[in-house]
Symmetry: C2
Subunit: 426 residues, 2 copies
């Protein structure tokens, strides 16, 4: 029975902000693991990410039907719950790592799949070192995910392509709208998008205009210090030429002193500080200085949850990353992350690569300067060539008779606890 005892269970967790396709990665992990039942026992998911591991709150994914798992591929958000929780270093909080090992040992877990961004890669790296540091045999593989597209080495991150597609389409649609209205009414449309440090998502707004679709769009990147005078001049130039202007603004836009534009010291009638978005700030600035009527929108969660218009490239890559992670685990690897390697732009071709986690953790990939036009308000041809393929193709979810997409809500049956100790997550 040596073979049976060598069979280990797997742990899978979702971490950080969720995306339209992180569940496609979960689908890739679980379906691939199910194809290798000789090597991998059950896949246990952490309820609410790594917190589920620390509190021994595990979900038995084997209780879900093949149909339900397949439906994860077209369901946005994190089906098992995510969390914003970063493990401290082994030195700073050894107790957490010892607890993880207690839980993993109790449930015969030998594979650790962690689905997240930069912070999660760091956590995954630390967990991958447990074999050596604490003597528990574990293979830790990171599955890349982030709408921010800021992981290094991989050409792009699953989750980003779908946000990019959503923002580009929304910007195109809203620009058509304001073009219709500008003669007597709205001349300015401002769309606020995610991206506190990197302007990848804002850049996608620039894709709304193309060779065969002429639209006046200005982008405000967090990489470019905001200059009111230059910006207002650019807006007026667009209005003069087109009659209107669309502005795509990253939430992280700041001035040369690093002060966020969103932080305008707004106070309510009672003098309490109010948090608004950066979109109304930009819109009000344009109206007060240039006199143009405006509309503004804040996409917020809508952009990263918009599975209804997910990019086909993105869905395929998210699934492929999950699948590759399991294959890497089966090949005996540890402390690695599958990556996307672009091999051709036209036609778009890519393959699965591999990165060592030590080279991924705590490295943030910013927009290259060559992707932003000289005036600071647009994207270059090089940027278009990079973004285009990531937004390619549609991957529509199935719809019910009520006109709504059929997203799956899993049963998420808890695994019976084996430890009699509780663990307080701080």
């Amino acid at each position: 029975m040596a073979k049976a005892s060598a069979k280990k269970n797997a742990f899978y967790a979702q971490s950080g902000g969720v995306t339209a396709v992180i569940n496609a990665s979960a689908c890739g992990v679980i379906e691939t693991a199910r194809q290798h039942k000789d090597k991998i026992g059950k896949v246990y998911a952490g309820r609410n990410g790594i917190i589920g591991a620390l509190t021994e709150d595990l979900i038995d994914t084997s209780k879900e039907s093949a149909k339900a798992i397949a439906a994860l591929r077209h369901t946005p958000s994190g089906a098992f719950g995510s969390c914003r929780y970063k493990l401290k270093s082994l030195e700073a909080n050894r107790r957490e790592y010892e607890r993880l090992i207690e839980v993993f040992a109790a449930h015969n877990i030998g594979y650790f799949f962690y689905n997240g961004g930069g912070d999660s890669a760091d956590t995954c790296l630390k967990v991958s070192q447990l074999s050596n540091s604490l003597g528990y045999p574990l293979q830790a593989i990171h599955v890349p995910k982030t709408v921010d597209n800021d992981l290094p080495i991989t050409d792009n991150c699953p989750g980003f392509g779908s946000v990019a597609k959503y923002i580009a389409i929304s910007t195109r649609e809203a620009s058509f709208d304001v073009a219709s209205m500008c003669k007597t009414s709205t001349k300015i449309f401002v769309l606020e998008v995610m991206g506190r440090h990197a302007g990848w998502i804002a850049a996608a707004g620039g894709m709304a205009a193309s060779e065969d679709c002429d639209l006046p769009i200005l982008i405000l990147f967090p990489e470019v210090p905001f200059n009111e005078e230059s910006f207002l001049k650019a807006v007026q130039e667009k209005v003069d030429k087109y009659g209107y202007c669309s502005v795509v603004v990253s939430e992280g836009v700041h001035d040369k002193d690093g002060k966020f534009l969103a932080d305008q010291g707004l106070k309510d009638a009672f003098g309490h500080a109010q948090l608004g978005g950066v979109a109304p700030v930009i819109a009000n600035m344009i109206r007060s200085k240039l006199g143009h009527k405006y509309h503004w929108a804040v996409a917020d969660y809508l952009q990263r949850a918009a599975r209804h218009i997910a990019s086909k490239s993105d869905v395929e890559q998210a699934y492929a990353m999950g699948k590759a992670a399991v294959k890497m685990a089966l090949a005996g690897k540890n402390s690695v992350m599958p990556t996307i390697e672009r091999t051709s732009n036209k036609p778009y071709r890519w393959k699965v690569g591999e990165a060592n986690l030590s080279k991924v953790a705590n490295v943030e990939k910013m927009m290259p300067a060559s992707f932003i036009t000289k005036d600071g308000y647009g994207i270059t041809k090089k940027c278009r060539e990079y973004l285009g393929p990531l937004m390619q193709g549609e991957d529509y979810p199935p719809y019910g008779k009520d006109g709504l997409p059929k997203y799956v809500q899993l049963k998420n049956v808890a695994v019976k606890k084996k430890l009699d100790s509780d663990f307080e997550v701080k």
Copy 2:
């Protein structure tokens, strides 16, 4: 040659806020007119709505290819430009009506198709009376359009079904997102939607939850005076039960004294009044009183321009209204509007009806009380049965290789002016 001289040209204009499907109505008008070249000459569109008629700025739609006109069916916004401009009464501004007749006479226009909402129906009614009042033979037909769904007689308004679908899907997607995050982070998601007087669009947010998709959603209708205490209690109940809560708030929500919640007297650091949306007001209220972390979004133009996820029912009806308007004109009718008559809920069946414009103009259809749950925060089964069919089916636009929908930008060739007088629109 009596027959040839009897052939009149048609005028078509788009009015008020545009929608995802108003161009589908334009497509219906133009394609149907092209099928009856024996009776209808050219279709001239008003550039920027009725202003185009007043300033003799007409667009010759015969210069557009059949392919371009067909593409209007899947292109959001107003392809010829719209305007917010309401004609005064004949008594108050006779000069405007005389000018319209001058322009129409100069271009042999005998048919007037006006595509808009309540205000536009009023304008169309006035124009339809010109035959009698000023002796110019003209048949005026109104083509219904409004995301607000507030026109009387017709079961629903083209434009609304697609916004409803977009808001329901977005609410479902964002609710899945916050459900994933609520353990350690965001517990509240607030989505602000259009609807200053009627809560039809907000109601659509309630469709996000269904029998097979359990989600905690609260709706704030303009029809229900806002009560902070009761609302916060309802929010906390959802958070207690589900761990999170989504709120769909209409921009027109106000308290029992009629004060808009969006109008909170916000001032910037310099003491200038700032206009924010109602979403951040609700979100801040929840955080300050209940302590929950939040995210909020303002959909704004994104919701009414979202052709990428338009409802199939809506697209079909928008087209059918345009087509029916032309058929009515050919049948010699004047001062009417085609309507949508629902004949069955399950399966959804509808037919084209007809309303007299005098019964449409200046009548606003509000949400019936029977559509709102007793607590004021939800929709009833009756409301669901009404809304469901309007959101049914998907009607995807074609996409390019760049992952973006192919929306048409027309050439919009101007008709040569025949009058030597200018007209100033005030």
